[in-house]
Symmetry: C2
Subunit: 273 residues, 2 copies
């Protein structure tokens, strides 16, 4: 029996509510991060300089990212990994990280969240309504990646996370200008947790026992998944039908996502309801 | 010509990068929040009590929420609105909000983010890869809703946001126990912004002019949208096929989401590319 790697439970990541839905193992957490195309990244922006009494406040940016290990690139999702982030709107975050990295050794405190909505759970009464979902939260500190080899590793990781096979399918490697203009953040994870909810509605007996309620209200689950459509060719490239690796990924991913959401609705996957 | 309401540009919300993608009007921002089933909510957790030098760090929770106005319930998305939040994991957030509300009049600083992924934008080189998306960020302060009428207003708003018609389709109104056990947060918004990216890839001329690149690399957009599947009935309720308001919403929403993503891929919707 192999030993399963888990994040330690700390006050920062311990799940208190619906703790039967909590997971701390690396495989579950890293897989949710890696299969969620857009991550939400939270950090503190400094207080308003014109008002010394105003506290720092949290900001969120949507970013692309993947879990990986530059020092052990053959690692899989069960191993200890870092989170690499690359965002279209990250210039402010990058500046904050740079100043934070230079002023203290730990980097900038950061939180990364990934949520996959798997279904709407419709119960007898609004209070018992819920969602099927898989969510993961990482807490850690972020620094800018300066090493060129590590930056290329991360760019490849994130591009392949978006669409497997895409790195080799494009003009690579990035040139010097592209490397200079690309900001990649590395998050060293200090704690992490996941929550998974699956299955049908969970109603209270006070409603389940009332025939005038159960005879009138429809209950069940609407499965929800992220769907990828038919690729639309652009003018710049070779044109025509998308290459096999694109079409195969789209088809395979759609099948997996749909299958999971329908399985969760029918109670065929693990996860505290 | 009607006057369009917008959030003011401040240092907290001003979009610096790709500012051609920025929107500050209430309609765009509120619509993105209202059509995103799961919101990401960020707030500060206190520093570790055992280590006075540790700074507060940001945390993110996935929550359900909707924009609305209890004092002007007939308002639409173009009006000034508050954000009501209800989360399955919000007990820690609710406790922080309660203590923050009692210690100062402003409530707890909070950030709410909503992101809709509309497509993968595949260009000639990894650096130019992007996503079509609609994202909105609200900054504001959160307080607990204590007034019973306002709490019922918010519960109805959030239930109807999840699935229009559902409130009347269930056992309502909530009883006293349910009202006591339900925590609803009201976020008064101080600043907000949205970013929208649509259209095909945008490549640099250095690559577009190289025939050995354009003749080999496929470029285009994979449309992405949130798909709702066939409703799965549960044991507790009336059973059988889902009622008309459920099936019609699922069908209508799928059509709108698919249509938007495909329109964005083909460059038929507004939004800076």
């Amino acid at each position: 029996m192999s030993k399963e790697l888990s994040y330690p439970k700390t006050p920062a990541n311990k799940v208190n509510r619906y703790s039967n839905r909590a997971h701390y193992d690396t495989t579950t957490i890293h897989n949710i991060i890696n299969t969620t195309p857009v991550l939400h990244v939270s950090f503190l922006t400094p207080s308003d300089a014109s008002d010394a009494s105003s506290p720092p406040h949290p900001t969120i940016l949507p970013m692309l990212g993947q879990m990986g290990s530059f020092t052990h690139p053959s690692s899989d999702e069960s191993d200890a990994l870092d989170c690499y982030l690359h965002g279209y709107t990250s210039s402010r975050l990058q500046n904050l990280t740079r100043s934070s990295s230079s002023s203290n050794s730990g980097g900038m405190p950061i939180c990364v969240a990934a949520t996959k909505l798997d279904g709407l759970v419709l119960s007898l009464t609004p209070n018992s309504h819920s969602c099927n979902y898989r969510s993961a939260i990482l807490h850690g500190t972020a620094t800018m990646v300066e090493d060129v080899e590590e930056k290329i590793y991360a760019m490849r990781l994130i591009t392949e996370g978006m669409l497997p096979g895409r790195w080799q399918g494009t003009r690579v490697p990035p040139d010097e200008t592209e490397l200079r203009s690309t900001g990649v953040l590395k998050v060293v994870v200090s704690s992490a947790s996941a929550k998974v909810r699956s299955g049908g509605p969970s109603d209270e007996s006070k409603d389940v026992e009332r025939a005038e309620v159960t005879g009138r209200v429809w209950t069940g689950v609407v499965p929800v998944w992220e769907m990828m459509g038919c690729p639309v060719p652009a003018g710049e490239g070779v044109g025509g039908q998308a290459p096999g690796y694109v079409a195969e990924y789209v088809e395979g991913r759609n099948g997996r996502e749909k299958g999971y959401a329908e399985g969760a609705a029918a109670g065929r996957v693990d996860g505290g309801s």
